[in-house]
Amino acid sequence: MRIRVLLTLIGLALLAALPLVATSYYLYLAELAMINIITAVGLNLLSGNCGQISLCNASFMGIGAYCTALCTTRLGLPTLIGLPASVIISALLGAALGYPARRLSGLYLALTTLGFLELVGIVIEEFPDYTGGIRGLKVPRPEIFGFSFQSNVALYFLVFTLTAAAVVVGYNVQRSRYGRAFDAVRQSPFAAQALGIPVARVKVIAFSLNAAFAGFAGGLLAGVVGFIDPPEFGILVSIQHITFIVVGGLGSIAGSIAGALVLTALPEALRGVQEYGELIYGFILLGTLLFLPRGLVGLVAKVETLRSPKPPAKEPAYGAP
């Protein structure tokens, strides 16, 4: 069996069995890790596949979080409306940002998305009547058809299911004509255009899609944490999301998952070494970047090729049919 299939099955089994052994704190951590997976999958489609950098991934998470929070608290709407509303509103705002940004790349795009991040932060802080401002906002746990996810195990499985769904959607998009268009735009916009791929439009779609994933993750985050405030959606969080996909593997769904899981768990695992924790975290990060340029999934691919050395392809006789 291929290693990645095996890893996926083991991972799923472990995640499903986790509530049997884990304390509520570790369940909570696992929920955060899964929410990070959702946001990493979305960001990877935009940055890893489409090649567009974004420093405002956290903002879209924030938009989703506040949207779900406001829908369920102020408007009294059920989670089943609040969460999809988060996705739709984030996607629309993502398109609204992606449209003017479609001709930008590199540093200019980085600065534009940074500007958006600041803007969202200011809006949240300037309307404390609605958002709670810097004091934050309390959010109730998700509730579906009258069933409130007060139990930690129930909440865990809700997040687990929704994360799995989001990963499948991300995977489906990546292997569709849209995913191929994203890759084409990153690797050669000229060739993409020559094949009839509308480059500018594809970039707007990628932005919108990324925002939808982030908004969904944010909506879940609000319900899981039970409290949101502006610093949770700042630049540091955006950069953390970028490290997820770079360490995990750019342009890879498995990479998004691996990066988000490992980097969410790592600070916990390093708590034992106290003040050296951050230092070791930094070294691990640097080491991955230096020695695994294709991320953690690059490591798996390497092991796979070691295990099954392919005979070199022979030059065929040309054009025979």
Partner: protein
């Protein structure tokens, strides 16, 4: 009947005139060679026709539609394809994925259908995969299906580039030096494949080359460019006998 009509086309980069008042007619179904020494404006013509460079003046009509100044992907969607002199493959994607991407325009399912992988998505993907396999087979690329395109030798990359361009099912395909980097034998085979595909699929080919010998075998008509102008036009044999052409180009190359 004329499929592509270029009329008084001028392309300038700052003060440099790349194409000057060029007029050229490509008939539907023909294999037309464009030849000329370095800097004759061959690539600029391709870039202007495909919308990658905006012409300063002149008109370009494709299938009776004015296309000068339109966006490249719009022009491409009319059925005008191209390959690149210095191949522009999606380097870290497999050969299969490269050609598959070429079918983008011919798959029509939407984003939601893609995200939920609805039946029509599965259907479209299955059909397209089959066509990719056939195309790869026709170009002898089957052994490289899973190889990242960027790792292949240049000659094979050229083949991938042509196969990918054909995937978009163009009515007219502009080939920018399609056999450069290929061995003599490879080039000959490529010429045979191209001629066969053009005939089978009714594709009009415009082949830009600076190697006269390639065009002698492939093209039915040849236009010779020099310093952005049309020097002469006719059958390959006529061009080889044309004194102006020999002076400007063949004499130079020999």
């Amino acid at each position: 009947m004329a499929l592509l009509e270029i009329n008084a086309l001028s392309v300038r980069f700052g003060g440099v005139v790349a194409v000057a008042e060029l007029s050229l007619v490509i008939a539907g179904g023909e294999i037309h060679g464009i030849i000329g020494p370095n800097g004759a404006g061959k690539s600029s013509v391709i870039n202007a026709v495909t919308g990658m460079v905006a012409p300063q003046s002149g008109s370009i009509r494709f299938a009776e539609k004015e296309i000068a100044g339109l966006a490249p992907h719009v022009i491409s969607s009319f059925g005008l394809g191209r390959t690149f002199q210095h191949v522009e493959l999606f380097g870290d994607r497999s050969v299969f994925d490269n050609v598959l991407t070429g079918f983008y325009r011919h798959q029509s399912y939407g984003l939601l259908a893609a995200a939920l992988r609805l039946q029509k998505t599965v259907q479209s993907e299955r059909e397209t995969h089959e066509r990719v396999r056939m195309l790869l087979d026709a170009f002898g690329l089957t052994p490289f299906v899973d190889t990242p395109a960027g790792l292949l030798p240049f000659g094979i990359q050229k083949r991938v580039d042509i196969a990918r361009a054909l995937a978009a099912e163009p009515r007219l395909l502009l080939l920018d030096e399609p056999v450069s980097g290929m061995s003599e034998a490879e080039a000959e085979m490529a010429v045979t494949t191209m001629r066969k595909l053009a005939r089978e699929h009714g594709i009009t080919l415009v082949v830009v080359e600076h190697n006269m010998r390639v065009l002698m075998n492939l093209a039915e008509r040849v236009s010779v460019l020099n310093q952005g102008r049309l020097l002469a036009s006719g059958t390959p044999a006529e061009m080889q006998a044309n004194t102006a052409v020999i002076e400007a180009y063949l004499g130079d190359a020999a």
